[in-house]
Symmetry: C2
Subunit: 431 residues, 2 copies
Amino acid sequence: MDKNRAWSMPPRTAAAIAREELPLTRVVQKFGGTSVADPDRLRHVAGRVARQVAAGERVAVVVSAMAGHTNQLVRWVEDVGGPTADLAEHDVVVAAGEQITAGLLALALQRLGVPARSYLGWQLPLNTDDAHGKARITEVDAAGVRAALDRGEVAVLPGFQGVDPTGRLTTLGRGGSDTSAVAVAAALDAERCDIFTDVDGIYTTDPRIVSRAKKLERITYEEMLELASLGAKVLQTRSVALAMQYDVPVQVLSSFEDKPGTLVIADDPTMEHQTVSGITYSRDEAKVTLVGVEDRPGVAARIFGALAEANVNVDMIVQSVSPDGRSTDLTFTLAASDLARARDVLDPVVRALGCRDLVADGGVVKISVIGVGMRSHAGIAHRMFNVLAERGINIQAISTSEIKISVLIPAEYTELAIRTLHAAYGLDADG
Amino acid sequence: MDKNRAWSMPPRTAAAIAREELPLTRVVQKFGGTSVADPDRLRHVAGRVARQVAAGERVAVVVSAMAGHTNQLVRWVEDVGGPTADLAEHDVVVAAGEQITAGLLALALQRLGVPARSYLGWQLPLNTDDAHGKARITEVDAAGVRAALDRGEVAVLPGFQGVDPTGRLTTLGRGGSDTSAVAVAAALDAERCDIFTDVDGIYTTDPRIVSRAKKLERITYEEMLELASLGAKVLQTRSVALAMQYDVPVQVLSSFEDKPGTLVIADDPTMEHQTVSGITYSRDEAKVTLVGVEDRPGVAARIFGALAEANVNVDMIVQSVSPDGRSTDLTFTLAASDLARARDVLDPVVRALGCRDLVADGGVVKISVIGVGMRSHAGIAHRMFNVLAERGINIQAISTSEIKISVLIPAEYTELAIRTLHAAYGLDADG
């Protein structure tokens, strides 16, 4: 049997779609670079989309460039254009990667008997501002795609790319294809945006640390935002924020297995919440302590102003009680990758303020407990501090939001803390 | 010294261009795939363009895809889309190759201090019909490029690509980048269109056969058309025809050496002509003889009609004198690559007409003598037949045009015939 013919749309289904007998369910499906890395995988993706079409859904597909291709194009840009290469031309070169996979996937679908065509970013158009290399979407005109879907065709769109107000190509920056997919789903008023990745969903914590971590059936946008910004690599923060803004249900699922993933949706007050949805951690943390800081107004502003000017984000801040009312210790955390820059910025400030010392510690980790249920359940923080104390884990700093509590602890306790908290909040899977 | 900084535009030149002190000479320069095959070659091309700019010319550059890249993209299209892949999506995939080199060359020029930007086919726009995969240019809007050139910028254009009336990408077919370059030169009213290739010009004949072949300083469009259609691979027939139509001087020159090439221009009656400009040959010839064809009206029409329907072009035709007034032998030539198809088409016709036999002979070559000077000089054909006869070379068929005489001879005499004719028409270089 010809592998290209392994699946084809039953003619009756196509006819039924054309006659609008089947329900008008529009979905956007986004496939990342590893899912479209070569012709075989493109065929696999086409088969998957075709089954969805046969099931009566009207599908717009958003694709990334073949895995590795974007990096190749960026290397050429840097080789030829140098470190300060014009980002407008960078975008012309790099956008070609998604253009290629969009055309190829349309061909693969056609070969399965599914009517399909590609719509490039400038053809929709998917309008963006002119911040080349990291453009923001301003408007998506999905009229053409919507009409195609209503005719029973599949529209294939390159992710990551758009067109600026002067008609030049733009790219949306890393992770931009997720954002493209959500934006197109919003413009199409789609029922769902499926993001196919190499994991099969969102877990209560890292399964490499806790073998009894559970896949979540659903999670709210807000929880997902906290997870994404805390280092869960599955969905870009930007795409989640956009999905929340336009209330687009997003499903994270595996492109290699055929089972449901995790649905990211709006908080529904009638829904029974888990108090805590997940435990996450970030190793990219460094702690800085300024010893003997004069305890008077304006000093903190001077220190954090200097860091902000250098684009260093400070996360947790702890100021110890001043024993003599005149000097104190100021502790804060920042991304470990920013530490060297922070030292350069702080050294002159520390000298000018007459601090006694600057102590930096990279051996820390931030552990966070996340859940929209915290809003209505008291005692979450209390339990966290208790169980960590029982294990002899010293908390060095604390920060909280409405749906998150984070603590800074010594890095060597990472796994112990996560396993302890995962069990304490009743997240361990049965068995 | 930084290799990327080996050349940069003297600031005074840039300023002078901006002030329009330098003459307003617009040229188009086209670089093929081997000239832009990797970052180093792209830098080399950028340096070459930069020198042209420094010399006061305003340059629009047309580039092909990196050597081999188009073939890679076509292989993917065929792998995924199959032998009957949708040509519209083929164009989406394949056009990405030129897009990449256009962006990269703009970056390479910028790095040399030359203001440059890319203009994609749909951005100009370069409008074509919707014959995807082999689209024809309908109109080039060069207003944006002209304005850029007038500001002292270099415009970099991907060859081979355009946009159809519905806004979808098209490609122009093999050799399309030459055609793009000539079309843009015409739209810009450019002084000259330079086609950079891996040869340094047009020769009086194949230098591999005649070591004393000379590079021509100039040649007319009509002569070049005959050369191109007879198998000289340097310029595509289509681009020469377009250059003739819009009277765009075309220069064929080497991208690896820094010296003038051959200028292809309109015939100038005041110009002293060489009687003969060149000797060319084509090995892709096959001779077919139908033996015992009934000698009555309508028979030839039946035979050649069948071939035309099958898209087989017939070149030379010889009908021997009918000895008995009732049957004759009909000989004609066609491309060797069409022979199998021609046999399939002719077999039933031959049976229906009651011909005695069909004899095919692939061991033939067509030798042609070309020159606009033939129009005013008698005796060219006579000399050709004489010198070939002196060498004992039997002529099997003859065809002529206003500026060309072609003969079909046995393939084993190819080199002897070419060398003999090259000397007989005084084309051998001195020394």
